[in-house]
Symmetry: C2
Subunit: 345 residues, 2 copies
């Protein structure tokens, strides 16, 4: 039966550190702008609107599975979807990213953010159900943004290079900071629970920008809130993947907050990461820019990453960050083929 087939998939086996027939592969941002069929479908439709349309989410999520033959689907959504659903005035501006109308400054701003109930995101439940019916033996990964990364958007008002306002708030008003992140942890845990209840087979918590913090600051201001999220979804039978970019100096801490699988960016060799995370499975870590290199270079780099990950407890092949929007779709397909071909047992 299908549920057993999904559980027995190479992707979930690798997450659990069990033997696999080939190294499973998926790509962060595999559903998105790199695909012509995605661009055609999204034409004229705002991002958040697309994320709230279950049929649209289902189709966009399936596109890369059909085209690339990847080993897992990842729910098409955005990390600000649960924030918008909880009443935050946030939009995704093309070419910029999330833009928040009223950035968080004090406790009264935090108090305005309410918790998330399953009824706030019926389209997520519906999309996951549609997808599970379509995906057969292919696992579906749910996801959410971690409190620190979400908070950075809410405090900065949008994307940032230096997180100056975020850091000023955390250091200058730690009570406001922790109240904000506590609220975000609660929203994120609820958002992931909805996805798990509806049938996703794994979840990934993205703390995309945690790498901007020193280890000491991460442990003080970010880690405990990620731990709360991951703890809230433990024991649900779905592997919890945790990832941030530029987190080489935080890998052990990111592992310790409760990840089952640790995502690694391209800067840290998987062989080195394996010694740091101590018996957990790894996900990564081809430099996304490599997909723009000639095929022989790409093939060489895929082999290198596979060899480098061979010593990990389990290895889910992925990029070290999301697919770059300008990436040629064929290069993504080719990468998936290389992973399967070069890792066949």
């Amino acid at each position: 039966m299908t549920a057993t087939q999904v559980e027995d998939s190479d992707f979930l086996r690798a997450c659990r550190g069990e033997p696999v027939s080939v190294t499973p592969v998926w790509f962060m941002r595999q559903a998105g702008r790199s695909l012509p069929e995605y661009r055609a479908l999204r034409e004229g439709m705002p991002m958040l609107e697309a994320c709230r349309d279950p049929e649209m989410v289902c189709e966009i999520t399936l596109q890369p599975v059909r085209r690339h033959g990847v080993d897992a689907a990842v729910l098409y959504s955005d990390i600000v979807v649960p924030l918008a659903a909880a009443g935050v005035d946030v939009d995704i501006v093309p070419g910029t990213g999330p833009v928040v109308a009223e950035p968080i400054r004090d406790m009264s701003d935090v108090d305005k953010i309410r918790d998330l109930a399953p009824e706030d995101v019926p389209y997520i439940t519906e999309a996951v159900r549609l997808l599970r019916a379509e995906l057969g033996a292919t696992p579906l990964i749910g996801f959410a943004g971690a409190p620190f990364t979400l908070a950075s958007y809410l405090v900065e008002g949008g994307p940032s290079r230096d997180y100056a306002k975020t850091k000023a708030l955390m250091r200058g008003a730690p009570d406001v900071w922790h109240a904000l992140c506590g609220r975000l942890a609660s929203i994120t845990a609820a958002f992931l629970s909805v996805q798990i209840d509806a049938g996703v087979n794994a979840v990934q918590l993205f703390d995309s920008w945690a790498g901007a913090l020193s280890l000491a600051d991460y442990q003080l201001f970010a880690g405990p809130h990620s731990a709360a999220v991951l703890d809230a979804v433990s024991g649900r039978g779905v592997p919890r993947i945790h990832f941030g970019v530029g987190t080489g100096h935080l890998l052990r801490a990111i592992s310790d907050v409760g990840a089952d699988v640790v995502g690694v960016d391209w800067r840290t060799p998987l062989s080195q990461a394996a010694t740091i995370v101590d018996g957990k499975a790894l996900q990564g870590n081809l430099d996304p820019a490599t997909l723009m290199a000639p095929s022989d270079v790409l093939a060489h780099e895929v082999r290198r990453v596979l060899a480098d990950g061979a010593g990990a407890a389990g290895h889910v092949f992925n990029l070290g960050h999301g697919v770059l929007p300008a990436t040629d779709a064929d290069a993504i397909t080719r990468t998936a083929e290389y992973v399967h071909k070069f890792s066949a047992r």
Copy 2:
């Protein structure tokens, strides 16, 4: 006499790993937008024009020395100044950064970039002479961008988050890449030599964006060209400081290309960096965003960095990256005071 006093300054002593009376401090981007007197002076004058006016360069370089009582001046310039002087059509666009009119695509583009002669930058020679006459016992730091970072602007056409074109060129056309970086190394070495000939007391090579590379890629594509630059200015009696942001995974490599002092960003504790660079002096590494925190937090963090750097062969206090433009000038002054007060022997 003054030359002896400069050589005997705490800054140069720390660079050489000799005992100091207080830990010397300066700030990357100390001359610039954080100072009201700078904003007044620059009003209506394009950046590159200011960089070519010796009197202006002298005044802007002196402003933070007067105001903050820092232990070293750093020549006001920009990493693209030598490129513009060598005929590259580049401008600095406010709010964006360097913008290159015709990005590098192939060998014919590389061939158009000529070498730099001292006559191309008479304003640098003149500015350094003016400054040495004004600075008394305060050392003057010259600087330049490293080949990888310069090349990233020339290939991307401007600032980048992912360096996709840069990496595509280095992997797809390594002959073009190495020709480009070879040319840039030659320009950079010439630019630093002009500054040393004119009287700077130390030089800092900024490979600001090298942290985007894995160690393997750094060693293949960036390191050798930085080594060529640093080798060209060795034996000139000026310490060579080398810095990049997010380079925790590259610190040993960055040290090994020929740095006398290794700059460390805020992500890597100085105590850890000291074990990596093996006997070299360190520069860093307060998180620039800390200057926006309340004074007690700032004081605590300054003490922490001082304690953390105490085990290094020498410690030049600095930020872990440049002063953030929105920083209050008084917080910078306060930081310098804290460093001196807390480190007095």
